[in-house]
């Protein structure tokens, strides 16, 4: 068995797969990646099946080596990647040899990055998934964030060539789209209008569970306590402090604060990727529109993954996009 040896690593790195599905009724959070398209692209670039586990890191990557040759790919956003002294590019795969050290620096203009290794991280699934849920210590590598010195077992690696994207995977721009509700009736029409006009600041108070928003307090005229009900990824709940909280991948399954709106699934990775201190605003769309956007994005992602291009073997270090 081969291992990915972690020499150095940033403070927010975990093992993730597509997530732990089907156990919300038992209080088990789905977990999984903060930026699903970037995660899936990373796996596809190294020839992994879609539910392979990879490393998600927040802010800073780390340095890594392998015991046997493996293909690796880094996605998420712009970042310095080096293989020894060679400079590599994100969004394409390379071969990492046992004597190499792969170094991944700090992400620029985004928050969450992914390192996929061919064969996938092969830790023991817990409740059907390798995704780490840090709060409850479930899954991943010993149920915790990764540390220097960890050796992650890798799955069987099918031989393959290195791959690149045919076209860049672009995130949409503009306001983050939301679907009003489920508890929008706890907020007056005026409060809801002000919510859509406000410019919020992405707070540094953020983790895989929740993202706080500063800069504009939101008051629920109907009260800030509801009889607890279900939450989903993207729920925007507002406690009595008036500071909105967007629930993210590691959210708790139920909650007792009124939810003014839900972030459209297609825009949740984009919100997750906004660096702290930046401004965001929201635009309301219908549920039908949000569903259509999601269906269209899934089609676009499928096409993106089905149309990866093979890199010339002799030119592994070109680092550029195919012309």
């Amino acid at each position: 068995m081969s291992f990915l040896v972690i020499q150095q690593i940033g403070p927010m790195a975990t093992v993730q797969d597509l997530g732990r599905r089907g156990l919300s009724h038992a209080g088990v959070s789905g977990s999984g990646p903060m930026d699903m398209p970037s995660f899936r692209i990373a796996n596809a670039l190294v020839g992994n099946v879609e539910n392979s586990a990879a490393i998600e890191f927040g802010g800073t990557g780390g340095s890594f080596s392998v015991l046997r040759p493996a293909r690796i790919a880094v996605t998420g956003g712009a970042v310095d990647i080096r293989l020894g002294k060679r400079k590599l590019s994100p969004w394409e795969s390379y071969t990492l040899l046992p004597d190499d050290v792969l170094s991944i620096g700090a992400l620029r203009d985004c928050v969450w990055g992914y390192l996929a290794v061919s064969g996938g991280v092969d830790t023991v699934p817990v409740l059907g998934s390798r995704a780490t849920h840090v709060r409850t210590g479930l899954g991943g590598y010993e149920g915790r964030r990764l540390q220097a010195g960890d050796r992650l077992p890798l799955g069987r690696d099918n031989p393959g060539v290195n791959l690149a994207l045919r076209q860049l995977w672009r995130r949409s721009g503009g306001p983050v789209r939301i679907v009003p509700g489920p508890q929008d009736d706890y907020y007056s029409a005026e409060t809801q209008r002000a919510f859509l006009k406000a410019s919020f600041i992405v707070s540094p108070a953020r983790d895989r569970m929740a993202q706080m928003l500063d800069g504009h307090a939101v008051h629920a005229e109907g009260g800030h306590d509801i009889v607890s009900d279900g939450t989903c990824a993207g729920s925007i709940q507002v406690p009595a402090s008036g500071r909105p909280i967007v629930l993210m991948a590691e959210r708790q399954t139920t909650g007792g604060y009124p939810k003014i709106a839900t972030v459209a699934t297609v825009d949740l990775p984009r919100l997750a990727q906004v660096p702290s201190g930046r401004h965001v605003s929201f635009a309301a769309i219908s549920r039908e529109k949000a569903e259509e956007l999601l269906i269209a994005e899934r089609t676009a992602l499928r096409e993106c993954l089905a149309n990866l291009v093979e890199k010339p073997e002799t030119d592994d270090v070109s680092g550029g996009m195919p012309s």
């Binding site: 038992a26 679907v179 839900t262 699934t265």
Partner: protein, 241 residues
Amino acid sequence: MGGKFPRILACGDSALSVELADTIDETVSERIIALAANLAATPVKGIEELVPTYRSLMVIYDPSVIRGHALDRELHRRLMVLTVNSVPARRFDVPVVYGGSVGLDLQELADMKEMTLAALIELHASAEYRVYMIGFAPGFAYLGGLPERLHTPRLATPRQRIEASAIGIGGKQASINSVPGPSGWRFIGRTPLRLFDPHRSQPFLLQAGDRVRFRPVSEDEAAELDRAVAAGQPVMEAQLS
């Protein structure tokens, strides 16, 4: 139920909430569980998960398979013809050691209520509780049926770490903690049982609709149960009635 209920609320593009009420009520909870059972027995293609809560059923769906508006119609249709059959509830006796380092609020609660420790324990253990929902954390049981005299507001400042197995009181609700973590509830004891163990063949002990009674046990009996639980032996079985 007249007025605004039942209603179906969109929760973005992949979930919706079937709301039957905005209160905690056993009849409502029974209907929620009956709707979930109905959907489990006769599934709707595209529904991925069902999350029963106190007064609503969250339905997580795949909009590539069924669109929200079509799902709304189907769920309204199911509600119209829904019958609540009295299925036998699972009943559990949960052993509890009152007080101790986990039940750190027991004495203060007794002082607050001007009760003796024995009277408070007897009152807590005399009631039958209903599991209204499992949520917040894996296997965490929200219980209704706490005697009114024991209703107690949560702490203004939550504590950073409360052990799994802690027996809690938060407002009108009671709880059995399933994982260690921060909490603003008050805690009066602990159970040797583990509500959640991901490595057990049945990782979750309780489910919505179950009935629970607390049985005071001595430290010695608890230590014996601790050993049995650690050895993976079953120490509690559901009684059907």
